[in-house]
Amino acid sequence: MDFEFSEEEVRFRESVQEFCKRYIEPRWVEIDEGGKIPLELIKKMGEQGLFMIPVSEEYGGMGGTITMAAIAIEEIAYHDPSVAVAVYALLNNGWPFIMEKYSLEDVKREILPKVARGEAFYGIASTESQGGSDVAGIKTLAIKKGDKWIINGEKTYISGVREIQELPQGGGYFLVAKTGKVEYGHRNITAFNLILKWDGKVREGWKPTLFEEIGRRGISTGAFTLEDFELEDKYRIGEENKGFYYLMEGFNVARILVAAATIGSGRWAIDQAIEWIRNRRLFEGRPISSFQGVSFRFSELYGELEAAKLLTYRAAWLADKIYIERDRKWREQDLNVPVALCKMKAPEATGKIYEELMKWYGAYAYTKDCNAFRGWIGTLSYLVGAEGAQNIMRIIIARDIIGREYVKG
């Protein structure tokens, strides 16, 4: 057993830290307050190779691993604890990785290099207004006509809707749609590279709208409708009606990276807490860390974060074994529980840390002078459901550990 990161992973972490200190940390409050990641920062992140880390070099990726992507996302979130910049980065790491795995060669060459350079966005469009957790119940419909698909439907709570409109090259999504009767459930879902704006031109049939979010405001969230949206068959991802399985693979990677983002933000909160409880002096000048009511709680929370970190990097390590090294000792199903565990644990640990940190701050935390709320509300996004509801994670764990037949309702 080896709990050490490799020398390259350590050096990569340091290089990301240096980048973040130079370009992200000085601007994170402005990004959160202004509700926008500057496009030049996205471009700079592309130049620095912070997108498509686990994607092959031939498509503009870094030829790295999911562990390396997790390291980058954790560090970005540490330096922007609202996690907006980390979320932008994690979407453009996780989904291009799955896209590369199943898309046609010329489509990969068309899309991926632009995403790598930060000129285009590539995210996920799965959730619909009737509920995000019931993927098998989606209603967006794609009907094949000749060599094209005609897509109709609505997707909501989708990240990057504004960025696609603003980035010079645009971008699109890993979209899942029904390609047959709705009642066939998950066995009738196909995945597509839904290109909405490309080479600077918005495609017909796409009507986006934006939501005003309470946190991680730097990255946009919105909805869109597709009305008779035409997409060439070459943009289909993998086989018809296998989209659900590709989507689950994508969620496996994305959830690891989401856990890494919340850990990065949690680490920032822990560092703020250490600084505060050491230096805040009350009752005859004692640091508040000298009260066991504070220090014991701190130790518990530190342990929670460390546990989440271990779960996350263990899942990333296993994902590398399965997806990158293709180690036949492991099956894809082996990832279900480790991924669900880290996605369940990391946002919950970080949420608890913020809640306690803000109590230690006292009234100061309830003002905008104190930035802790930005991290708290930002990571809250992953407690209320983004990238898989917390209770869905519990279902996955219970189903695999207790047994599918014992947890059926």
């Binding site: 020398e7 390259e8 990569f12 290089s15 880390i53 070099e57």
Partner: protein, 257 residues
């Protein structure tokens, strides 16, 4: 054009922790390539990109961390690297380092430019560049804030207390750069992974024909402490009077005359 860049493994002062007695915990402090050395590497790589120069990096030391900073330089774009194996390099006298470097230049050179940080993060002696130039009998431009190669000359801007000076010199020469010279590039994952595959060559001082080296007797290392006087003057009513009092204290403390 062939360029030699010298880099030093130093304590990361920003992460240095201290005992409650004030003793620095140097054993557990992280180490890194010195800040101005990193600017020297950046300058060499920029000359490589502009002029097609071949770039070599060298460091003195004996640990895996020395290899690591060579790989950091590779990840920034350097072509070839050497470690000269010496135990406890941090207490080598600058004259001995000069002797090692001049022998290295003879063995792996000739070089058109030898470039290094103006001063190291730990000892701050600012002497090494001059010692190397003197041993090789070539010119030096020290404390350079901006370096260009124009019409066959190296042109260096040095910002000093009394003004900005431009110096020009032909190769071969030694240049020491400050941290103002540039903003060093940050290695990408791709270049980090590539650097892992590159060879790091090692030499002993005997390979360089150097028989012995002189080390500094390190007597003590202490935290630099600035004791704050915490004196406040109320200037809300009479500014002049407050300034007079302030000056009075500066004079009595020997800070001003």
């Amino acid at each position: 054009m062939k360029i030699l860049t010298l880099i030093k493994l130093t304590l990361d002062i920003s992460q240095l922790k201290y005992e409650s007695t004030g003793e620095p915990l140097t054993e557990i402090a992280p180490k890194k390539m010195g800040d101005s050395d990193k600017c020297a590497v950046e300058e060499a790589v920029r000359l490589k990109e502009k002029l097609g120069a071949y770039t070599v990096v060298a460091t003195i030391g004996s640990t895996s961390e020395n290899e690591r900073i060579i790989r950091d330089a590779y990840a920034m774009g350097i072509d070839e690297g050497y470690i000269v194996k010496v135990e406890d390099p941090e207490i080598l006298q600058a004259t001995s380092i000069g002797k090692i470097v001049s022998s290295l230049v003879e063995k792996t050179g000739p070089y058109d430019l030898i470039i290094l940080g103006a001063g190291s993060l730990d000892t701050h002696s600012y002497t090494l560049g001059s010692i190397i130039a003197s041993k090789l009998n070539i010119p030096i431009i020290a404390g350079v804030d901006s370096l260009q190669y124009v019409d066959g000359f190296f042109e260096a801007l040095c910002i000093m207390e009394d003004g900005a000076y431009t110096f020009r010199a032909k190769a071969p020469l030694v240049v020491t750069v400050t941290t103002e010279a540039n903003e060093p590039r940050i290695p990408t994952l791709k270049t980090i992974l590539r650097s892992k595959k590159m060879e790091v060559k090692t030499l002993t001082i005997h390979d360089l024909g150097v028989d012995d080296v002189v080390k500094v007797d390190l007597l003590d290392v202490k935290r630099y402490v600035v004791n704050r006087r915490k004196i406040l003057w109320d200037a809300s009513e009479d500014l002049e009077k407050a300034v007079d009092k302030f000056i009075e204290v500066l004079v009595s403390e020997g800070v001003a005359q």
